[in-house]
Symmetry: C2
Subunit: 352 residues, 2 copies
Amino acid sequence: MNDHTQSIYSSDRNTIFPVVVLGGGPVGLFAVFMAGMMQLKCALVEALPQLGGQCQALYPDKPIYDIPGMPEISAGDLVAQLSQQMAPFKPTVFCGQTAEHVDQEEESGLFVIRTSAGRMILAQTIMICCGAGALVPKRPPLEGIEQFEGQSVFYSVPSGHGWAGKDIVIAGGGDSAVDWALVLAGSAKSVHMVHRRARFSAHEHSVARLQEEFQSGRVQLHAPYQLLGLEGQVGQISVVHVHDGAGGSKSLSADILLPFFGMQNDLGPLGRWGLDIDQQRIVTNPLTGQTSRAGIYAAGDIVTYPHKLKLIMTGFAEVAQSMHHLKGYLFPDQYVGVKHSTTLGNPGSWAS
Amino acid sequence: MNDHTQSIYSSDRNTIFPVVVLGGGPVGLFAVFMAGMMQLKCALVEALPQLGGQCQALYPDKPIYDIPGMPEISAGDLVAQLSQQMAPFKPTVFCGQTAEHVDQEEESGLFVIRTSAGRMILAQTIMICCGAGALVPKRPPLEGIEQFEGQSVFYSVPSGHGWAGKDIVIAGGGDSAVDWALVLAGSAKSVHMVHRRARFSAHEHSVARLQEEFQSGRVQLHAPYQLLGLEGQVGQISVVHVHDGAGGSKSLSADILLPFFGMQNDLGPLGRWGLDIDQQRIVTNPLTGQTSRAGIYAAGDIVTYPHKLKLIMTGFAEVAQSMHHLKGYLFPDQYVGVKHSTTLGNPGSWAS
């Protein structure tokens, strides 16, 4: 992966950062601001080539109505204003890469972060604001499926796939499964649909058309059946085994398997950092933002605790709680009180 | 007190309100908005004749820099935007009065609020967002002092006081105590200063001038001494008793007592509602906003819990937590999940 690190801000890259914020969505941008207000030098790591996270990437023009004090603002404008708000603090921004591994030096407690672009970042503390994490396809729990992915097992249909004349197995009962069965039935040698229920949850009209294909024999239905295992070699499947959950099983000849089981949020590498996780969310103390590892904090949609609300304003407040506790972690002998911005004055005039 | 109730919104005054918000500062205004987002009809009670709380009353032009997404906004503009944001939900607004008493009907659990303007408001739940409460002078703990207040005991010097030729006792060692001793020494018959320490915390220059007055005898110093008790009748003191904390005491002839012990936040009547209080703050569960009384919630600077930050953004998030729990209290059989404003759409189009 290329390193899209932006040098639009200062680029003191080989320093030790008091705080490294992971995630450049609204909550991450505000974390950079709060770090600055508490006079903590900060780096920001963002997976996408530009800042703004999901807001900016998926729905920049969508209006939001519940940001306190903003009767209406587009997601894109919110991100722009948060960027402007944090700008005086000149964070070092590493874009187009994610934090993959973290090691901690035993004596110093220093975190060594390695990114997907091969960059090493040194951090005294880490503030995780990765939102919902990455949205990834649900992968069926079949042994060895990884070796076929991208060659004969696909979670979405690549354009220019060239599957005419192939034996195709589609698993699932939603819109993707049904729509692609209808499309591929015209050109494939065979299309087998494997679904664990008799009913399909796809659009009514599509399901009706699918029934016609079942009757014409251009699509074979296997329901209620579920995926059981794969056979094949060097990335190429040859057989998909399915079972009916009651002792019955079948083997379907297949060149291509398309599991369409929807998407799920995935913590990705963060799930392997030794943090307490509950249902793909990082467990925090809501009053301090602390994760189960000292020095690692988290805020926003990625965290969970009793009564957690997935609202942007909640993420903002969690950032404030986290930054105050984090500063106490960095400076255990210092009293960390609330400093009001009305007293501190315009960050543009005092931030260095 | 006059009833400045504004009828700028709908005025269904004799209904039972699902939520009555106390306090029309930024957090209270946002509470009205959040109640509306959760489709709860709302009334708002504000002590001042206009909305906006301390922000609007004390520093409308002061810029704030740490509202998330707003690089700079004046307190007045913030209040204006919060008012605009909540307007679609048309709360009933009762201005110029405070909630003095609350009774709860045993069977229905309904709260009956009586305001300082004599109004009765019926509430299923109460959301307290009174900010810091009122700023009031610290009153010395002297038996019966109330009967003299405003006639011979004053916490600030009234203009046109006519105290020439009077015996005046001033208690305290800060700027107010020292400055007024210097002013009154010129015209009073006697000025006695009672201070529990030998050192004064007032401005250096004023303290130096006071030392001259001690030497000239125009001001008598009693330090380290503290107030012990008052004598007098029908509102008029005659003697102030003081003690040195080590068994010694004196009696000072006095027409006027000026206790200058600074200001403190005061919960006022809220302190007598049977809520758990800690240092003039209402104790809440930070995850639910619940006070110690079921159905009464609180948010913002008036609440306390471990790691509480007195920041506006924190108050906003507390409001969200409170409103979600409050809705569950009102509708125990209903699932209360987060609804995103991007999905609900513009409140102006659907709020009724």
